[in-house]
């Protein structure tokens, strides 16, 4: 269970991993420990247990800085934390708008050519380049 204190700690860690950069909001700006985290955990409830353990270790390490704590994480925990924070962050509409991401859309199929048709014809006119073992 991610309580309010754990959410605050996740927010502190996320500020280190995803600060603002003028163009995009920071993870804290989008309240990463609130609704975005809930949305992430609804999608990936399997990540919660290990996330809680990581956050508890951070609590036990305080007053170490978030950057120093992140350095202590094993590769698997580092990746899990990034998956949670980035996964929640990039689901936020405001973030998607800031980075120009429209989501994976269904596009109307083109009935025109496939592109580079003239270059394809040039390739077609080249000599065969495979080895023929029967020769």
């Amino acid at each position: 269970m991610i309580d309010a204190t754990a959410r605050r700690r996740i927010a502190v860690l996320s500020e280190e991993l995803l600060p603002g950069n003028g163009r995009q909001p920071s993870a804290v700006d989008v309240d990463i420990g609130g609704a975005p985290l809930d949305r992430l955990l609804m999608s990936r409830p399997d990540l919660e247990d290990r996330l809680v353990l990581i956050v508890e270790r951070f609590r036990d390490c305080e007053p170490v800085t978030p950057a120093a704590f992140i350095e202590t994480l094993c590769p698997q925990d580092h990746r899990l934390l990034l998956t949670v924070i980035c996964g929640a962050y990039f689901l936020v509409a405001e973030v998607q708008q800031a980075i120009g991401y429209t989501g994976q859309q269904a596009l109307t199929p083109s009935r025109g050519g496939f592109g580079a048709e003239e270059l394809t014809m040039k390739q077609m006119e080249l000599p065969k380049r495979y080895r023929d073992p029967t020769v």
């Binding site: 280190e16 991993l17 995803l18 600060p19 950069n21 995009q24 949305r39 992430l40 999608s43 990936r44 399997d46 990540l47 992140i70 580092h78 990746r79 990034l82 998956t83 980035c86 996964g87 990039f90 689901l91 998607q96 980075i99 120009g100 991401y101 429209t102 989501g103 994976q104 859309q105 269904a106 596009l107 109307t108 199929p109 083109s110 050519g113 496939f114 592109g115 580079a116 270059l119 394809t120 040039k122 390739q123 077609m124 080249l126 000599p127 065969k128 380049r129 495979y130 080895r131 023929d132 073992p133 029967t134």
Partner: protein
Amino acid sequence: MQQDFPRTEVLVIGAGLSGAITSQRLARAGIKVTCLEQGVWNPLESYPGDKPDFELQALGPWNANPNIRQGKADYPILDDTSDIKPLLFNGVGGSTVMFSAHWMRFLPSDFFTYSLDGVGTDWPIDYQDLEPYYLQTEADIGVSGVAGDPAYPDRPDYPMPPLPIQPWGEKVAAAHDRLGWHWWPGSNAITSRPYQGRRPCVQRSTCRAGCNEGAKGSVDRSIWPGAIEAGAKLVTGARVVRILTNQQGRAEGALFVDESGATRRIQADIVVLAAHAIGTARLLLKSADNVWPEGLANSSGVVGQNLMMHPMNRMVGFFDDPMSSWQGHWGQSIYSMEFAETRSEHDFVRGAKWNLSPTGGPLNAALYPFDGPQPFGKGLHDRVDKWLGRSALWGMVAEDMPDSRNFLALDPAHPDADGDGLPRLHYTTTENSKRLLSFMAKRGRESFGEAGAYEVAEQTLAAEIGWHPLGTCRMGNDPGSSVVDKWNRCHDISNLLIVDGSSFVTSSCVNPAATISAIAARATDHLINFRSEY
């Protein structure tokens, strides 16, 4: 207690690519066929591609690595002794549910690696033997592409024209034209037009976790509906535990655990294994008994040996131009066979096939496992900024050769649900593969550089890339060094066939799906036409 299941003429184990093709052909020929599949049949709407959390799902429940996914139909595959981690899917459609649908024939030289290059072993069949079956299975599955590639023998038109090669494909095609290098529009088992009741691709780029449109030719959509309509019986949630043989040394069926957990026995005149190079070899080894102490049909000692895995590089080129490269079939936009054949001036033999693709969304960009440390903070923002919509990816597939260090075995120290050892992959990347991929990485930088990329990032000898396990029950004329003959019949047991990628002799540098399909179709036709001899 074993409960008998209705008897069948032909039992097919595995509802993936080769199992589907085999079942469809048998059913159309009026032969009673039952296929057992340990997984389920996922409905189109269950695929995550059309949902906002697609990228998160693809990293977890829809991850191609069964050890990460840990689905109900998955079993652990011990891979800490393997440089390359296995990627596959257990369910109706098999790994075609998750594959990228590149559809590539073997080159004619691929069947003669020993005669031509002094490595590997020659196949007992060749390109001409498979050519009619390449054509038939392309039509059955629905492949889009354009004929006329100088890297291949002449062939008729594809069933459908190629998918758009996209702005990144056009950049790299122009670059290869300037370099004098080969390139060709991608051939994919993905519809570019309405085809046999399936809709055309909408370029959503979520192909790797199932296609919500049914445009990708995964066989749960392209083959199984027709197979069932023709009379094939498909039983899901049926985990085969052992192949059964009788005192005359013939296969007589299988023991399986059904979805209620009951152990059932099904009898058949003929048994066909189509369970993937890992699943098939595993099942033969699990079926060891007093008569077959080293595994069923394994008098040669070759079952599980000769494991090949297709080592790969991945390279991402970053461009200034916005190209919306999170969209686009994935799928290959274009491919290059420039370095596919052996060249005497290289310090390696054989070669690699390159495939160009889009690069996914922001989470993929943030977490991509490039060589080097994972960025965070400003570095992470910078990476997503330059990646998203402005990049393209070369995948470089190296031909793998059989090596005595590379094999699958059951590990008794880690028992499975039946008390048998779990399958363990032993795989070490060969020095030839390392030299080959080092060369390809340098050429990849040239390719992207000529195309206008201002930066190129690499993931050399990628680990999470084990899409193509092959060779563990290989084909050959000599029963002392092969498991199946040129018709995919086991040398040791004449009514037991193996029609999946485990029957490969060498791996080529191209994706194996087209050749698996052709081999399965050819073997099944022989079974149908010469049934009385089986």
